[in-house]
């Protein structure tokens, strides 16, 4: 796409380079540490599902037992598969039962025992990753056979708390025009340090993300996709304390998009920054493998900060999310970078400012499936004014070629949408799309007009902020309240006790496979040094 804003390519390159410099020390932190949730995700990939009679997943039981016994500095795989061999356990579930009772003495195997543990762990995890690969192939086949809807994709949310209520609502939303269904999670889930099990019928303002709920919804939407002749994508949230595990479950159950921001949990859920960065890297490695599109959460910054003053913080966060994403193996088409239409409508020229911001993001990330979020902060109880504002949002979205449009509800902030609210909202989108869908090709801002100048100003402010973050260090910048105006110190927040520094012999079969290794399943593949560094 040729630029409409006359952005200086040298400045764009500089912004990316600054983002890399700011993010690289954090990436290094993720290479030298692991977390309880990363280790639990390894066990999930190896097929350890289910929970004990208290509902605590077996993966938590095993990781806790290994941690109590030998520590997690070497990862969970070596001690767990060593214990399988020495204790003659037929499978992980049997091991988990004994481990939960404290009957397993774990150790860090050495020599031939280490080779043996690596071989069997690698094979088990590779089997799980092969299931993810197979699901990706199923998606590709369905997209080819059933059809891939044209962009912008229409994104709708369901959130009843009961998966069996969500399913008919999601199917109805798809029939009404939704290309993407997002099942909002129960509000408590991000701070749970385990993933609930089974089909769930109780949740607060949303439905728990569980493997079974994922499976049920995907199966229902497969049916609806065939009925409608277009593939309906399913979205959930790889965020919170169990981000890596939920990413693994999403890959196994063929979810198509996952909310997965590098900083959202830190800023908005007060999760420890170090924990979040480690977890997000692993989860993105899984998403890369699974062909899942991630959605980042920059729109949220504008709900606490002012959308004009803080416009550059969105761009800065997008550049950081892009760097972290590409570093973890995601490709541009998987980077659903987020932004939002949140400028106060009372501000003069507010729509032109929105156009400038949206077009800037489009040009900075030409190959990313940008996710554009509707107004929330300035939606009042005046549903009629809200409907108008949503129409302007939709217009801005089509004019600036946004890829994923979340459907704005005129009853935003009043109640969860009624059936009619959703229907009217889709009518709004359909009208704007039909009336102005091709307006983008004729929308060329004057070279030195208001829109182009504003876009260049935001890019300039982004470069200034990235420079500051680079000097200050990213963790310090977060502690300082740079994003979303919330101060989050590196040693504060939840989940820090689940962070473990890796020992020299740390080994993680999943990371090894994601990085192109065999995961230790080849007996002669003893590239310990290389894989140990992962």
């Amino acid at each position: 796409m040729t630029g409409k804003l006359n952005l200086d390519p040298a400045l764009v390159r500089q912004a990316r380079e600054l983002a890399r410099e700011a993010a690289e020390p954090v990436v290094e932190l993720t290479r030298t540490h692991t977390t309880v949730s990363v280790e639990r995700a390894v066990l999930r990939l190896a097929g350890l599902d289910g929970a004990d009679e208290d509902g605590m997943p077996w993966v938590n039981r095993v990781v806790d037992a290994v941690r109590d016994s030998t520590g997690l500095e070497h990862g969970v795989a070596l001690p767990a598969w060593d214990a399988m061999a020495t204790g003659n356990y037929p499978d992980l579930h049997t091991l988990a039962r004994d481990a939960a009772k404290g009957k397993v003495q774990f150790r860090i195997p050495a020599g031939d025992d280490r080779v043996r543990a690596r071989g069997s762990a690698g094979r088990s995890v590779l089997a799980g990753i092969s299931r993810i690969d197979a699901q990706r192939a199923v998606r590709d086949r369905m997209l080819a056979e059933v059809g891939d809807p044209a962009k912008p994709w229409i994104y709708l949310i369901v959130a009843t708390g009961d998966i069996y209520e969500d399913i008919p609502q999601a199917q109805a939303a798809a029939r009404e025009g939704a290309d993407i269904i997002a099942v909002i999670r129960s509000t408590g889930q991000s701070l749970l340090d385990y993933v609930p099990e089974g089909a769930t019928r109780e949740g607060y303002a949303g439905t728990y993300a569980t493997q079974e709920n994922f499976r049920l919804m995907r199966a229902a939407l497969d049916e609806t996709s065939r009925e409608l002749g277009r593939y309906v994508r399913l979205t959930n949230y790889a965020s919170g304390l169990c981000m890596p595990e939920i990413a693994a479950l999403a890959g196994l159950e063929r979810l198509d998009m996952m909310l997965n921001d590098c900083m959202y949990g830190i800023i908005f859920r007060d999760i420890n920054p170090v924990r979040t960065f480690i977890d997000q890297r692993f989860s993105r490695q899984v998403h890369a493998r699974a062909g899942i599109i991630i959605n980042t959460g920059e729109d949220n910054y504008l709900t606490t900060a002012d959308a004009v003053d803080a416009a550059h913080t969105v761009v800065v966060s997008q550049l950081l999310n892009e760097y972290f994403g590409l570093e973890a193996g995601l490709q541009d088409w998987q980077l659903g970078l987020g932004h939002a239409f949140e400028i106060n409508p009372a501000v003069p020229d507010s729509f032109m400012l929105e156009l400038a911001h949206a077009q800037l993001v489009r040009e900075l990330f030409p190959d990313a499936p940008l996710k554009y979020m509707p107004p929330t902060k300035h939606m009042t109880g005046n549903v009629f004014a809200g409907f108008l504002l949503d129409a302007f949002f939709n217009l801005c979205g089509v004019m600036t070629d946004q890829s994923i449009i979340l459907v704005g509800m005129m009853t935003e902030g009043i109640h969860t949408p009624f059936l009619a609210d959703r229907d009217l909202a889709l009518e709004n989108v359909r009208y704007v799309r039909a009336a102005a869908g091709k307006l983008g090709e004729s929308f060329v801002p004057a070279p030195d007009g208001f829109v182009a100048q504003r876009a260049r100003q935001v890019l300039g402010e982004s470069i200034d902020l990235l420079t500051r973050i680079g000097k200050q260090g990213m963790l310090n910048a977060i502690a300082d309240g740079t994003f979303g105006v919330t101060k989050r110190p590196a040693h504060g927040g939840r989940g820090l006790d689940g962070v473990v520094e890796r020992a020299d012999g740390y080994w993680n079969p999943a990371i090894s496979i994601f990085s192109g290794g065999s995961g230790g399943s080849s007996p002669r593949d003893d590239s310990t040094v290389l894989e140990g560094s992962e």
Binding site: G161, T187, S190, T304, A305, D306, L419, A420, V485, T486
Partner: protein
């Protein structure tokens, strides 16, 4: 008695507009006639007489959306309307800081949290964060207020303990999630815990959220309830009114 009726375009015409959905199909001609008749029946039972269905649209195979205009015969008796009047004056940031300094001689301590499973910190952050809300800076901005923001999903015992440790003058709790009336049960539980832990010397308890009834303070056991649209300055003015009372004469002058 001061009586009014809804106003369409003529005094006393009683005209209103409503919209609603009925679980009836809108496919065949017979179905459509039945659906519109059903909407008219509901409108009449709601007191709209005459009523006119100006828009009906099928949504999927089993639902129809209606927009109805009609005339209500009901009268509104203005003398019978009960209003909760704001019991405190709105002060400027400078006045708030001054009042705290002169009445307390130290900083006023506020501990804020979202309790229960509620992870929506938007409300509490809008009140506490320096950035504030609706163009007004949050409580962190006030020099004489010390803010401890505990964030989301804080347990009631943790909140009580922190309030004691910080010698809180006031505790602010935000509740956005209202499923199964969680905001009501959580707030009552919190109030009971403060009553049990502190007795009559408990900190001022202030709750906020879009779905609270502002008149329910006694029922919930709290001192003040703030609803949608509350700004940090509203809260700060109330805190000063309740905790740092000034000379009423001076207040007039200010």
């Amino acid at each position: 008695m001061n009586v009014v009726r809804p106003y369409g375009d003529t005094t006393g015409d009683g005209r209103v507009q409503v919209s609603f959905t009925l679980p009836v199909p809108f496919g065949t001609e017979t179905e459509r006639a039945l659906a519109e008749g059903a909407a008219l029946q509901l409108a009449q039972k709601m007191g709209l007489e005459p009523a006119m269905v100006v828009h009906a649209k099928g949504m999927g195979p089993a639902f129809t959306f209606f927009i109805v205009y009609g005339r209500v015969s009901h009268l509104v008796d203005l003398s019978a309307v009960v209003v909760t009047e704001r019991e405190f004056p709105e002060l400027s940031a400078a006045e708030i800081n001054l009042r705290i300094r002169s009445a307390l001689g130290r900083k006023l301590v506020v501990v804020g949290a979202c309790i229960g499973t509620d992870a929506h910190t938007v409300g509490i952050d809008a009140i506490l964060n320096v950035k504030g809300h609706a163009g007004e800076k949050g409580l962190e901005y006030y020099r004489e207020i010390r803010v401890v923001n505990m964030g989301s999903q804080v347990s009631v015992p943790d909140l009580v303990a922190r309030a004691a440790a910080e010698h809180a003058d006031a505790v602010l709790v935000s509740q956005v999630v209202t499923q199964r009336d969680a905001h009501i049960t959580n707030t009552k539980e919190m109030a009971a815990a403060f009553a049990a832990g502190f007795g009559p010397a408990r900190p001022l308890l202030v709750v906020g959220g879009p779905r609270f009834d502002p008149a329910a303070t006694a029922d919930l056991g709290v001192d003040r309830i703030f609803g949608k649209g509350t700004t940090p300055r509203d809260v700060a003015s109330f805190l000063v009114h309740a905790l740092a009372p000034g000379d009423p004469e001076a207040e007039e002058v200010a």
